[in-house]
Symmetry: none
Subunit: 401 residues, 2 copies
Amino acid sequence: MNPELIDTLIIENNTKIVFLILDGIGGLPMPGGDKTELEIADTPNLDHLVKKSTCGLLDPIGHGITPGSGPAHFALFGYDPVKNNVGRGILSAAGINFPMTERDLFMRVNFATIDGSGLVIDRRAGRIDDETNKRLCRKLQEGIKLKSYEVFFETVREHRALIVLRGETLWEEINETDPQEVGAPPLLPEPLKPGAAKTAAIIAELTEKAKDILSDEEKANMILLRGYAKYRRYPGLGERFGLKPLAIANYPMYRGIARLLGMTVNTLTETLKSEFTALRDNYEKYDFFFLHIKPTDSRGEDGDFDAKVKVIEEVDSLLPVITELRPDVLVVTGDHSTPALLSSHSWHPVPVLLSSDTCRPDGVERFGERECIHGGLGRMPTVCLMGVALAHAKRLTKFGA
Amino acid sequence: MNPELIDTLIIENNTKIVFLILDGIGGLPMPGGDKTELEIADTPNLDHLVKKSTCGLLDPIGHGITPGSGPAHFALFGYDPVKNNVGRGILSAAGINFPMTERDLFMRVNFATIDGSGLVIDRRAGRIDDETNKRLCRKLQEGIKLKSYEVFFETVREHRALIVLRGETLWEEINETDPQEVGAPPLLPEPLKPGAAKTAAIIAELTEKAKDILSDEEKANMILLRGYAKYRRYPGLGERFGLKPLAIANYPMYRGIARLLGMTVNTLTETLKSEFTALRDNYEKYDFFFLHIKPTDSRGEDGDFDAKVKVIEEVDSLLPVITELRPDVLVVTGDHSTPALLSSHSWHPVPVLLSSDTCRPDGVERFGERECIHGGLGRMPTVCLMGVALAHAKRLTKFGA
């Protein structure tokens, strides 16, 4: 089904939808074990909720595909993750709230160290601190002028920055200059399509100038570029679905995606608990809530099974903050799986729970991967989830007469 | 999902994947019974394996569609079975290892018997033997010359042969001349598209000449043509997935498909056991193994439920030959269902088992159709299977950042 079919069926309502997204929630048993992180976690509140819910398993991109966070979140919000797979540059720009225009080309930057013969010896310049990063961005901003083009150097954090090139007819089809390994020279920003030659020349000039300016730096004496992305406008959740969305997320990437999709992004919070109370405090002002929980993914990436279990248990203990608000639709799921066993994202499908007054009982008694196999949602592409949520929220009319 | 998305995500690895394909494995209970062939078979090795596997049900083409062996196998190897549905002619040519060129048009031939008034009275010419077939092909080869086109007559077996027409701008959109019934005259090779008129005229001329030359034959006095197929190059499993594949299969059809998809095809073996030992003997030299078991399908086609059960039990007894090699991914499934009850291929989904160290437990305790309903792979198009296998073999990178 075309994920944009639901856009044609939207009707107004004042119902409220909450997406509680535990990043990387799906897991695997550790060697010798038989249960995943979610299955082993003590989750009385989720288990209570599941009895009034419909469960299932989601495929973020497709069978066997391990998703990056960007496309996985696009799918959650009902955007085709393959058609909308964009360069990370635009997500970085949105993440730091850079005021984008249609004439912009975004590039992610690593400050790096090269040796005397020009070979990369540290792709992260010893992970310089944020203050050094800011100083370097100022130094580059002051030192570099390009004919006919504006350029902006923006600090992200540690060794990461953003370059924005602004002007006419910029192309994103340029070779990345980050060689992705040490001992190799930076690659040339060659055009990958004939039309991109002029943009490639500007990027080459920019890189040369940056190298000159940074040549007196001890660690960060080079820039490496990747994730080129032209500006692209997305119809937001308001425009597509008539929602007034609030994102509660603390990592730039997810804040960026939320901004790109027209969400209001909450001020940063410090703890998981404060994310939940931020939702409660803003409950009257919005009707769609994206509450993003990062540590499930981080602990999975660390390979720390027990710590991931603990995060799930903490989220479970905070669940009543949401359920007491009695949202019309509450979805609990993840963007992808991050099994501690693999210390990385994986292709395994993601357990999902959707709770509302119009759920058909499916007999699932507990929120875990193997129980969700038998759930009423079945196995479903993630991109279909938003349509089901809108339906339960009585925000979709009939298709056809 | 576009099945070719995985091609963009391939990474190198030296892991090994085995596809053990029991042709026509899916079944139905016989009248009065309650269990399928697979469910009734005594399969201790499969039942042991299933506990460390993820199971599911595969749809080769789509719900309700009964597949031919060609598209069903294309789907197994990750090729869209509808887009890649080719005329059987090219499969026949690959099956006999005919050296194909881009200027070739392939046609399957039945030697047939027509009566004095030109009506087909036996579509298989009394199933003439292979020696007669060879004699007839030589006779036609010597007797027929075409202006500007080469023609090759190749024996297949019994009443079946292959004609290859070689030259400029040949079309495959020609009416088949086999009327598919007795008592009717052969059909005319009419062009089905305007551009095909010239090719149609050549085929008409060829057919007339063959009829003349065969007129003194008692049984095989006519040729009937079908399965027209132009040469088409397929990117092989090496090109698409970086695999070094070996096919162990004894029937021309499957050997042909394997060759079309760039597999090395093993020398013919005599018994099921020798197929398994051929895999073991070649295990170090390849990293993808297609082991094809034909008799499950043949016994299903015979309508012989008990004999099909016995074949499954024999395969089960040979399974340790593979499991002792500890492949990174072992898939056990079929190309389609062939229930003995129907004595033919059917549309019922096909049980599948995928075993690897990164399988999420799904609670399935036995390898049978009704257990597989509850498997962690869910119900899945067959074409998605290769992506899942490559994922578990750690041969796919992340999609998007």
